[in-house]
């Protein structure tokens, strides 16, 4: 099994590297100047580390600080304190351990779903934008139609019909969230294909696939990267929503969404069952959004410094 957080964590860093060397010089410098975005980025790095570490240690049977599945009826619903820093749930399980244990699930779903999203979005957008004509028309009408259906509803329907498992969730989110990306890539391609260097490549006899891969895609990388980072946030939120409704990650595997579902019965007495996983989702998603926005601003200097 791959280690989700690690694989994609490094790919994000590589993405930034590509920007540094290939875009304009000083990408890193300018990104560093955005303090909020930088903070968000480092938060994500720590989160990746924690997620990977938790994943590895839990596979090895080492549980820090507690076994997330160990029940302890004498410690039911104890408020945050010591040794259960974030309290325990109705079965006496440690909330902190469960939240840690859910972190790699969220990352895994987020990154894999975005990988599918990227593959489909880039493929459809590139085909529509480069070839134009009826191909463009057919693909874009499909995209419009899919955008008319509230996607969360459709994902829910799909997951409910097939069966709620982590793979189905990833596939459903990925397969039903690529439309915006396709539009973005198409718009980029429409502008880029009018560039003289594309005409030059065609005049040199460079085949279409090579023009797409080496001339058009690298030049639309920046907005695609930004959109992918934002997409991870969206996917994590969607997974949380699905899990909350009971159509996501199934217990006993903890996920930030289903911890809240479990806790809702004790809403008025055990606030910590809801607050902590909620804060985890909030911080993670926000960190992705802020990082993505930071990258966007650095790449698009006309908007000026903001975060």
């Amino acid at each position: 099994m791959v280690e989700p957080a690690k694989t994609f964590g490094s790919s994000l860093a590589e993405g930034l590297d590509v920007q540094t060397t290939r875009m304009r010089p000083g990408f890193v410098v300018r990104f560093r100047r955005r303090r909020v975005a930088l903070l968000a980025f480092w938060f994500l790095m720590v989160l990746f580390f924690v997620a990977v570490a938790t994943f590895i240690t839990s596979r090895l049977g080492i549980h820090i600080p507690f076994d997330p599945d160990a029940q302890n009826m004498s410690q039911r619903l104890s408020p945050p304190g010591w040794p259960h820093v974030l309290g325990t749930d109705q079965f006496g399980r440690d909330v902190f351990a469960r939240i840690l244990n859910a972190s790699y699930i969220s990352m895994f779903v987020g990154f894999l779903a975005v990988a599918i999203e990227l593959a489909l979005g880039v493929l459809v957008g590139a085909a529509a934008g480069y070839f134009g004509g009826w191909i463009d028309n057919v693909l874009m009408r499909l995209v419009d139609a899919l955008l008319c259906i509230p996607s969360f509803l459709l994902i829910l329907t799909l997951v409910a019909i097939v069966s709620p498992s982590i793979w189905v969730i990833i596939a459903a989110i990925g397969v039903l969230s690529w439309m915006e990306l396709a539009r973005l890539v198409r718009a980029e391609f429409l502008t880029l294909r009018e560039m003289d260097y594309v005409a030059a490549a065609r005049a040199l006899g460079v085949p279409a696939w090579r023009i797409i891969l080496s001339h058009l895609l690298p030049n639309s990388l920046a907005p695609v990267l930004v959109s992918a980072v934002l997409g991870v946030a969206g996917a994590i939120l969607t997974e949380a929503g699905l899990s909350f409704l009971g159509f996501g990650v199934q217990p006993p595997q903890a996920s930030w969404g289903n911890i809240i579902t479990d806790g809702k019965t004790y809403l008025l007495d055990a606030w910590w069952l809801i607050i902590w996983p909620g804060v985890a989702i909030l911080l993670t998603t926000m960190a992705f959004y802020l990082t993505g926005e930071g990258i966007r601003e650095v790449l698009d200097p006309k908007e000026g410094k903001r975060i």
Partner: protein, 320 residues
């Protein structure tokens, strides 16, 4: 204008046809048993039930004719769910509530999103801009169910007010305005939760398009004429940022309808979102098909309406 409308209508119809095909595919290709589980049945009875089901949903026809038959059934109120309740009727029951909730949310989105965006553009680069950006991402990152519960805790535990459903039990016999007030109160919490992500996106949109139009000459002229800062921003700049807001309207609506599944479930609000949740729990596929389709209709109509409103608001813009 007329040609524009005709064109838009034609595209909308094509879109809805694609959407209906997609949601129809769900009913056709969903794996597993399609009858409501529950009571034990003898094999013979089971076979008969299966046969009846195949006939009911035209499963014996090729897919294209099944598609037309199912769509025909849907509109003529003959399509029934797995409990033999007409689907159309259920939707029609819930639709007004959903529309009411979304309308209130929209008001909140524009009422809060526009000032936030204007503040961001006006104090561009300053701390107010930064906090408006961070605030927007904060709202966008808030999971709906989390906010809902926070609101519940807050309202129920500390303010002692009922918020579930659309009316307080025992209010049925009070005067109409008391009832209206009661309903309004019950609407507020779910509408607020639904509106939050929209507020975030809207404020970013407004900010971006404002910054774009602020550099244009007429803004400079307006300033030179001595109009006050806020008048310039709200009147001149905003009017020119209407276009992108209209484009964004569809996404807004789609997002809110999707979000309403969670919010309506939590607040026991009798809209389509909760209907969807109920249908999902029972794997009641025909209802889901219909809900997906009708939500798409809502989105498409919302878009059309927004476009037309836009040309009314700003007569200089000719729709093409």
């Amino acid at each position: 204008m007329i040609t524009y409308l005709v064109r838009r209508l034609a595209i909308s119809i094509i879109l809805l046809a694609i959407v209906s095909l997609l949601s129809f595919a769900i009913i056709r290709f969903a794996p597993g048993s399609k009858t409501a589980g529950g009571e034990e049945m003898s094999p013979k009875k089971l076979a008969a039930a299966e046969e009846a089901r195949r006939a009911k949903y035209h499963l014996n026809d090729p897919w294209y004719s099944q598609y037309f038959l199912v769509m025909k059934d849907l509109f003529s109120n003959k399509l029934v769910d797995y409990n033999d309740r007409p689907v159309h009727e259920q939707i029609v029951d819930r639709l007004p509530w959903t529309m009411l909730l979304n309308a209130v949310s929209l008001v909140l989105v524009f009422g809060m999103g526009i000032p936030l965006g204007v503040a961001g553009a006006r104090f561009r680069g300053g701390w107010r801009d930064t906090s408006s950006a961070v605030g927007a991402f904060f709202l966008l990152s808030l999971p709906g169910f989390f906010v809902s519960y926070m609101l519940c805790i807050l309202l129920v535990k500390y303010i002692y007010v009922p918020i579930l459903g659309v009316g307080t039990f025992g209010m049925q016999f009070s005067s109409w305005w008391q009832q209206a007030l009661d309903t309004g109160w019950h609407l507020f919490a779910p509408a607020l939760v639904l509106a939050l992500p929209g507020v975030a996106v809207q404020s970013r949109y407004v900010r971006a398009s404002l910054i774009e139009s602020l550099s244009e000459d007429y803004i400079r002229t307006a300033r030179a004429k001595g109009l006050s800062e806020s008048v310039v921003y709200y009147k001149h700049a905003l009017r020119n940022s209407l276009r992108p807001m209209v484009t964004f309207f569809g996404f807004l609506l789609a997002g809110m309808i999707a979000g309403s599944v969670i919010v309506e479930t939590i607040f026991s609000y009798p809209g389509m979102g909760r209907l969807a949740y109920e249908a999902l729990s029972k794997r009641n596929l025909p209802v889901l098909v219909a809900i997906n389709f009708y939500s798409a209709v809502l989105v498409v109509m919302g878009n059309l309406l927004a476009d037309m409103l836009y040309s009314v608001v700003d007569p200089r813009v000719r729709l093409e």
